[in-house]
């Protein structure tokens, strides 16, 4: 079978983008970023790990999907390490939400944010909202000098007002708590190519294959609040397979903050990624067994509410799967 002309064309264009010399920086999925004119890669030194380290991550899953209406759950997990020992494991409360057929409004109100009533609601907003709530609680409970790690960037869902984030970072600064967001797979781009990959190659040439390094690539717009954020890319361990995007408050000293972050990124299973975040990630995940258990619980509640079995089946049978089997 020959290659389709459209695929040939797309591949050629992609090759141009990946290898091209177009230097403009961008973040197709982000907003509010002002990119640096030039990117300077600097060596990074590992610092002592903070005594108090928190990590927060959110998870979600669809429990019942009738297409027009969905029931989904979210949760935000928190984990805390004191002097290297895991002292808190909080999977986070499962919160059920209905989306569709007008039910979004109730879910929106339940978020407790001052949002326009016409704001569209989806799972990202719901998960993000409670994830930031967990971050807020971590900041309040953390010891001064603590590090609070967040999975993903620190730029919240576009529907969450930037003032919310400004206030949160302001409170963190007040309590001398450093908040850092680590993005595993960033959409930052230079020209058409992934920026992080480019920087990895450049840094390896500049400092060697086992160097730790960092580079500031962007800042948030000045109206972000609390001085805004700085976006850096950093390789946090000599044996890290990847560098990551790290969001830090603009007021933080990047080499200090990243040095501390590097100290908790030394786990043998995945050098270069903050270990507490991988624990939070596992806690927040909603594996298939959890979805199954929630469905059984829901089914029982339907039964008690008198919803006939036939109605339940017709509403929630996955017709895609049925058709695939047919």
């Amino acid at each position: 079978m020959g290659v389709e002309p459209s695929l040939q064309h797309a591949a050629a264009r992609l090759a141009e983008l990946l290898t091209g010399r177009v230097a403009a920086l961008s973040d197709p999925s982000g907003r509010d970023l002002v990119f640096e004119a030039t990117i300077e890669i600097r060596p990074l030194d590992r610092r002592p790990a903070p005594a108090d380290v928190w990590a927060v991550d959110g998870g979600q899953c669809v429990v019942a999907d009738a297409r027009c209406v969905q029931l989904l759950v979210t949760r935000a997990a928190r984990v805390r390490y004191a002097a290297g020992e895991r002292v808190l494991e909080d999977e986070g409360e499962l919160k059920a939400h209905l989306l569709g057929v007008g039910e979004d409004r109730a879910s929106l109100v339940a978020l407790g944010l001052a949002l326009d009533p016409n704001t569209s609601v989806d799972v990202n907003l719901l998960r993000d909202r409670w994830e930031w709530d967990a971050v807020e609680r971590a900041i309040e409970e953390a010891q001064p000098g603590a590090l609070v790690l967040v999975d993903g960037d620190l730029v919240p869902d576009w529907r969450i007002p930037s003032t919310f984030m400004g206030e949160l970072l302001g409170r963190a600064a007040e309590r001398n708590v450093l908040v850092a967001g680590v993005t595993k797979h960033s959409s930052l781009a230079r020209g058409g190519a992934p920026l992080v990959g480019h920087l990895e190659l450049e840094a390896a040439v500049q400092f060697g294959a086992r160097a730790m390094w960092w580079a500031t690539v962007a800042r948030t717009r000045s109206d972000f609040g609390a001085g805004g954020l700085q976006v850096v890319v950093a390789r946090l361990d000599p044996d890290a397979r990847f560098a990551f995007r790290v969001d830090l408050p603009a007021s933080a000293d990047p080499s200090e903050a990243l040095g501390a972050l590097s100290a908790v990124s030394d786990d043998a299973a995945f050098p270069g990624y903050p270990y507490p975040l991988s624990v939070a990630d596992q806690l927040a995940a909603c594996p298939p067994w959890l979805r199954q258990e929630l469905w059984l619980e829901l089914d029982e509640l339907f039964h008690r509410a008198g919803v006939p079995l036939e109605v339940r089946e017709r509403a929630f049978t996955d017709r895609h799967k049925l058709m695939e089997r047919a």
């Binding site: 895991r86 044996d239 786990d267 043998a268 299973a269 050098p271």
Partner: protein, 521 residues
Amino acid sequence: MDGTSRGRLFGKNVLEAVFRASPDEDLFLGELLVGVDEATGRRYLFRVVDVTYGSEHREPGWAERVAGTLLSDDSRGEAGLHPLHDQALRTYRVATCRCLGYLSPEGEFRKPKSLPTQFSRVISPEPADFAFLRTKMGDLPIGHLRSGETVVDFEVGIPGASLASHVGVFATTGMGKSNLMKVLASGVMQRGGRYGLLLVDPHGEYRTSLAKHPWAGARLRTYAARRLPNTSALRVSLAELAVDDLRTAYEWSRPQEEALFELERHYAAADLRWLLDFAQIDDLGAFREIDLNGRVALNTLQVVHRRARRIVELPCVAADPNVSVGGAVLRDLQDGKVVLIDVSGLGSTEEVLVASFLTRKVLDEWSAAYLEQPELHERLPVVAIALEEAQRVLSRNRDRESNVFPRVAREGRKFKVGLCAVTQQPKLLDDELLSQFNTFFVLGLADEKDRNILRSSSKQDISALGPEIQTLMPGECLVANLEAPFAVPAKVHLYDDVVRSCDPPPARMEAAPANVSALVD
């Protein structure tokens, strides 16, 4: 041993159990553990047959990746650069166990027929968990119960009566066969006449040490083929030897066997005294032509002649029936003694010749008593005939009618005569004969074929114990017999310790008539 949880049971079936333990839980192959079923009050006895790693991480290759990172650190001299955080939370051990049975709340032991409640606690056993075994351990102690590498203060042994249903001692060199045999001999001596043991020693390794036993004066008799201090001379009369002994001891071709029969017929003798005459013949050709009418080929006759000369020249072989030790050995065994036959200095075939002769004497005497004097037979002690390198006489191709050893294996039990076969290569033993052995002492065996043959013949299921047998240390063994409900792991006593701790026999024992203790018991 306390009630501290060693793990939690999570899977498998009635006969097997799998439990999870913390990553630093030191679990050993062969370790005995107890699954505590709170719901039923039962205590399930487990034997660890395998231990593996487990991890909370489900990504393929996770563990290999971690090991790779650590290895890279090592190779750079940076060990510790990448710790595995929370190792105790992320990794664990998984132990696979054989379920040996369970103790009912009343303390009765039963074979496994039910599944313990899932997630039951697994703990180390308590002394009471082995109480049911006490009555099964018999009166010939051999060591202490062993749980993995831990020696438990619980004596393991076999009933002396089981000597009649044959004992196999299987181990590679250096694993403690000789020590075990000496401990067994010690047990026999201390039973004061209840049992007899005929121990054929080709290497002269038992004489000195057995003589040191406090009971040796009363209960040990040593015959030696060489002049050795404190021994009786081993003399075997040609008048008591039979052609069958020759056929057992030597490899004979079919023509050579025919020649033997021809010579037997020619000399018209039931015993081997004719060997003397035959050995002195100078002109074999003429003898062949005239006396045998040329019915035997000359070269065949020459082989038989050479062997005959060697036999009659043996210092332990005599023509005079009055000097033969056969009768004395029988009396010692009837008396319930350990009879040590030190054949060091003899060749392997001559050793078998002597053993064959004595074994046949014992079997004939005990079977005659059984058939003709049941009351006397009742009083006779159970006798075991211990032979090293037993594959020489119990192998597949040696199982002939003339060979007395397979006969003992098949028929000896009812006459109270058993074999104690010691070998490094059980795979060379005849399967059918091995199946007659009710007691196995399995010490370390490196060869898988050896382990396999034992698996199929053992009276207890040892199919899952291959790795354990492979990793047994010197002095460690498994005892499989019909009495204990499972193959019992043991650490064999050191014979020197047994001698040190053994009380001397009561003074009156010397004066007691033979077999009094046997009658009492």
